[in-house]
């Protein structure tokens, strides 16, 4: 079916609650089957389905193929007890947005959708919000029990405080307990070296780390056209400028910074994904599922 992703932010913004957005995004990813659980490579046999190119050939049911001349895949219920930590940067800069939703809105939608995925698989999901003030924790709980508290906390998140994006990673280091999968949602508008050091600490503690860099399209391309008084959301003072006149220099500076951050994280083997807020949540959700599967394989499941 040639349909657009249900995780398109334009579509999600029309829905009324964070819970509904998370459900819609995840159900879109899961093929729309209502209340279905994700199926994968666990132990309990669930069903057969037709083979499609790209499927793992080890899961092909050769007996059925020999008997019926049809190629089918054995699908199993996934079983795990993985812990997923969602670190959300709530500094004031995350309040920026030009599309009708802010970077923080987009981050909370993504985090809620990831938490929904974890809950659907009975994984443990925890949350840390930090943006320059006191961090807010939601302890990791498994299954659907922890989901409402997590969604309520995300729903109430406000973009306040001046802080380096690395602070949320630093706040998490040493406090996340058992090894797990850490998804760090931030705009990364800060010292790239400090962010890389924070990610490095999390890696040293044995976590798999995935950084989702959430940016408004205007921040990437400075696509405004008229002269403007720019007011810094986190200090930075006031600057009068014609965006058209400085666009080229801005984009160069921005990409240099992005390159430094990307290179530093890749050297640590940290997954890094740039997510413009006008694009679908699907790459993040798919990347997360791939990471989760890798983590489970590493754990010997």
């Amino acid at each position: 079916m040639n349909a657009p992703p249900a995780s398109d932010p334009k579509f999600l913004a029309r829905l009324s609650s964070l819970e509904l957005r998370a459900r819609t995004a995840v159900e879109g990813l899961a093929g729309g089957r209502h209340a279905s659980r994700l199926k994968g490579a666990g132990l309990t046999f669930a069903e057969h389905r037709a083979y499609v190119p790209g499927d793992d050939l080890r899961r092909m049911d050769w007996k059925v193929a020999a008997r019926t001349d049809r190629h089918v895949i054995r699908v199993h219920e996934e079983e795990s007890s993985l812990t997923g930590w969602l670190l959300v940067d709530t500094s004031a800069s995350m309040g920026f947005g030009t599309l009708g939703w802010s970077k923080l809105d987009y981050a909370t939608w993504t985090a809620a959708a990831l938490a929904r995925l974890l809950a659907m698989q009975n994984d443990r999901a925890g949350l840390l919000l930090s943006g320059g003030g006191d961090p807010r924790w939601v302890p990791a709980r498994s299954g659907r029990a922890g989901w409402p508290a997590l969604v309520d906390t995300l729903d109430a998140a406000e973009p306040v405080g001046e802080g380096d994006p690395a602070e949320v990673g630093e706040a998490a280091a040493g406090r996340l307990g058992r090894r797990g999968l850490v998804v760090w949602l931030t705009d990364g508008l800060g010292d790239p070296g400090r962010m890389v050091r924070a990610a490095s600490r999390l890696k040293e503690e044995g976590h798999d780390v995935m950084v989702l860099r959430i940016l408004d399209p205007v921040e990437i391309s400075l696509s405004w056209d008229s002269p403007t008084r720019f007011m810094g959301l986190e200090g930075g003072g006031v600057l009068r400028a014609d965006p058209k006149a400085i666009r080229k220099a801005y984009v160069e500076t921005f990409e240099e910074h992005a390159q430094t951050l990307r290179r530093g994280l890749r050297e640590l083997n940290v997954d890094f994904l740039r997510m413009p807020t006008d694009q679908s949540l699907e790459p993040a959700l798919a990347g997360f599922l791939a990471n989760r599967a890798a983590r489970l394989r590493k754990a010997g499941r």
Binding site: S93, L239, A245, A249
Partner: protein
């Protein structure tokens, strides 16, 4: 070089104007919050030297243009004298254009309307009834009215007390015909009639090839002395809010409503629109945007209103020459969360899942959801079960008892919506009693079709509220690529004649038939998720919004318009009350009288307020009986908005009018007392050419820089 008007050289300090504008624009730039300020500051440092050079060159060209313009204007000029009118009695018929655009203020704060009144006073000065002079004033506004006929003294008094122009357009052609009739009534031998039309010559008012041109020609046939005086300002920049709407108009509590505000720059130079939006008077959002000449920009704002009932939304621009279009109101009615009753039978053990289970799974969204859903067995439906229900969803029910059929039909007529999801267990003979109770024929639900190639849905009514989301090309495939291996066909010919078919199978057979029965809407839908029959369940992220929109589209809407144009009648439908009705207009510059009528209709009261001439939100209240069973509200709000055609101040050139009506006498602008009209300026021509050259160079350079920066 010598100057004929050396006094004008005192204007030379005006060369500082471009520099002042440059500095003022720097101070009045739109403000924007921005997150990546560090990168911006670094980029600015890198590009600073180049930007300064480019700006200095542009500034030099602009300053030069102003300098040479002043020099050209100070060159030799020849003056001319005013023509004087002859003696003897005179009859004056003066037509005052009182349309909204006449409220436009020029740079000195003077309205075109003020200029029209001054010119009318001037033309009537010295006229005496005792000498046989006569005067008629015709006001062309919301209505064409003869203000006075006869005494010039009374006419002058009326001009002193004239009310402001109306916030409406005017029918100038009809006003001219009225003036012709009045002129005929006072004309007599020895009394020449001079007809003066004081107008801003707005193109929206003057159809010079049509009605207005024809009226002028007819006037001239009977009365050779017709003057059209253009009292409009030479420059008419105007920013206007031309549209304000919310979608949906009536959201549920917590449901986001998108506010769409359209702003247009009707002027011939770029302008900054500083927009402010309020909800019930409290600030909601601000928006700044530079608009090029003729550009229309749309501001999208999402609001999630709390509480229920009508809310007043207002968008406001910084005041400019024409104030009437600098603000615009809209009404958002936050409705109660709809109560939805889902009636159907679960499948028996071992059976395939049926419609009831799939609909229940999708629509039961839990607390905080946009629907408050309850499930009942079809056999237990009775009047009490349906009390307070906004929509009843019948999920493929088997036969319904006669008492249930009667209860459903009664509630539908009172305003409850009905969504009848048709599937494998809906048998035409079981469906017949309810269909006939709802005004449809028994053959509406037809037999099961199982085509060789699965059928797909296609959209027939793009504007249907439940399908609007999917009419977007991005989302269209969600509905159109669902294979249906089996479905029941619907026969729209068996539905009442007003029935609509929003969705069809394979572009032919009806998949959705909808009609109105009494106050309620009935929809019979064969395109519902049924495992084994179709693959609608698998639409990624689409089935839930589709079903939500389908159900909410059947909730009874607001029974009257929420927006009317100034001058039109406000008509609202409220719960019937004991008789006290209050119509509260918004605060206007002056109280403008309006008439209120009320008539009962069914269990409702239709209240009409005529000639709503004050833009803004009007509130109508009736003292409804608190014990009454009416589901209608006792208060309604309606937004009265000015016509956007009046915001476009583009005017005819007087030469256009002469071309259309050759015998016409024209003043391009009423000369003030003692003012002498200017003549051509031969010695200034070469300097004007230089100014034009400088401006052209500036324009080319600015455009080249713009393109260069945009390509960066």
């Amino acid at each position: 070089m010598t100057f004929l008007h050396p006094g004008l050289l005192w204007a030379l300090p005006a060369v500082a104007i471009p520099i002042l504008i440059h500095l003022l624009r720097r101070r009045r730039l739109p403000e924007r919050d921005f997150a990546a300020m560090d990168f911006l500051a670094l980029a600015f440092q890198k590009a600073r030297r180049r930007i300064l050079l480019e700006d200095a060159l542009l500034l030099a060209l602009r300053t030069g243009a102003v300098l040479f313009l002043i020099l050209a204007l100070a060159g030799p000029r020849s003056g001319g004298g005013e023509t004087s009118s002859g003696g003897g009695p005179q009859a004056d018929v003066i037509v005052l254009d009182a349309s909204m655009s006449m409220g436009f203020r020029d740079g000195n704060g003077l309205r075109a309307w003020d200029a029209a009144l001054a010119e009318a006073r001037k033309r009537l000065a010295g006229r005496l009834e005792s000498q046989g002079d006569r005067a008629v004033l015709v006001r062309a506004g919301h209505e064409n009215v003869r203000l006075v006929a006869g005494s010039p003294r009374v006419a002058r008094q009326i001009l002193e007390e004239a009310s402001d122009p109306d916030p409406t357009s005017c029918g100038m052609g009809d006003a001219l015909f009225l003036a012709a009739r009045e002129a005929e009534a006072i004309a007599r031998p020895g009394l020449p009639v001079r007809i003066t039309i004081l107008t801003d010559l707005q193109r929206a008012t003057w159809d010079i090839q049509g009605r207005e041109g024809e009226a002028l020609r007819q006037l001239l046939e009977s009365f050779p002395l017709v003057d059209v005086v253009n009292v409009g300002a030479p420059s008419r920049p105007n920013l206007a809010i031309v549209h304000l709407e919310t979608a949906p108009v009536s959201p549920a509590p917590g449901e986001p409503a998108q506010i769409r505000t359209r702003v247009r720059n009707f002027g011939d130079s770029p302008r900054t629109a500083n927009l402010e939006m309020t909800l019930d008077g409290a600030p909601l959002a601000r928006w700044d945007r530079v608009l090029d000449p003729g550009e229309e920009a749309t501001w999208l704002q999402i609001v999630i209103p709390a509480g229920t009932g009508p809310r007043k939304l207002e968008a406001r621009l910084q005041p400019d020459g024409l104030r009437a279009d600098d603000s615009r109101g809209a009404v958002v009615v936050v409705r109660e969360t709809p109560t939805v009753i889902l009636a159907g039978e679960p499948s028996l053990p071992g059976e395939r899942r049926l419609v009831f289970e799939t609909l229940s799974g999708f629509l039961d969204l839990g607390p905080g959801a946009p629907l408050d859903m309850h499930e009942v067995a079809p056999s237990s439906i009775e009047a009490r079960t349906l009390e307070g229900a906004s929509v009843l969803v019948l999920a493929d029910p088997r036969a319904l008892p006669p008492s249930s059929v009667a209860a459903i039909a009664d509630r539908v007529r009172q305003g409850m919506g009905l969504l009848w999801a048709v599937g494998p267990t809906t048998h035409p003979e079981d469906a017949a009693p309810l269909l006939s109770a709802l005004g449809a024929g028994p053959s509406l639900v037809g037999p099961v079709q199982s085509p060789e190639r699965p059928a797909t849905l296609s959209i027939r009514d793009e504007n249907h509220p439940a399908i609007a989301l999917f009419s977007d090309p991005t989302w269209r495939p969600l509905l159109e690529e669902v294979p249906h291996s089996s479905f029941r066909i619907l026969d729209p010919d068996a539905a009442p004649s007003s029935a609509k078919v929003p969705l069809v199978f394979d572009g032919e057979s009806a998949a959705w038939v909808e009609w109105k029965e009494g106050e309620g809407r009935c929809a019979v839908v064969a395109a519902v998720p049924i495992p084994g029959w179709n693959r609608m369940e698998e639409i990624p992220g689409g089935t839930l919004p589709f079903l939500l929109e389908a159900v909410t589209s059947l909730v009874a809407g607001i029974p009257h318009p929420l927006v009317v144009e100034t001058g039109e009648e406000i008509a609202v439908v409220l719960a019937a009350g004991r008789g006290n009705i209050e119509v509260q207009p918004p605060l206007g510059p002056r109280r403008i009288p309006f008439a209120v009528t009320a008539r009962p209709e069914g269990g409702a009261l239709v209240i009409a307020a005529s000639s709503a001439l004050i833009p803004g939100i009007w509130v109508v209240t009736s003292d409804s009986d608190p014990l009454g069973a009416s589901t209608l509200s006792s208060t309604a709000s309606v937004a009265v908005v000015p016509p956007s055609s009046e915001s476009d101040l583009a005017a005819w050139d007087t030469s256009d009018l002469v071309t259309a009506v050759p015998d016409l006498a024209l003043d391009s602008r009423a000369p003030a007392q003692g003012e002498t009209p200017g003549k051509d300026l031969p010695l200034g021509d070469s300097v004007f050419l230089l100014v034009a050259g400088l401006l052209a160079t500036e324009s080319l350079l600015a455009r080249w820089l713009d393109r260069k920066r945009a390509s960066a």
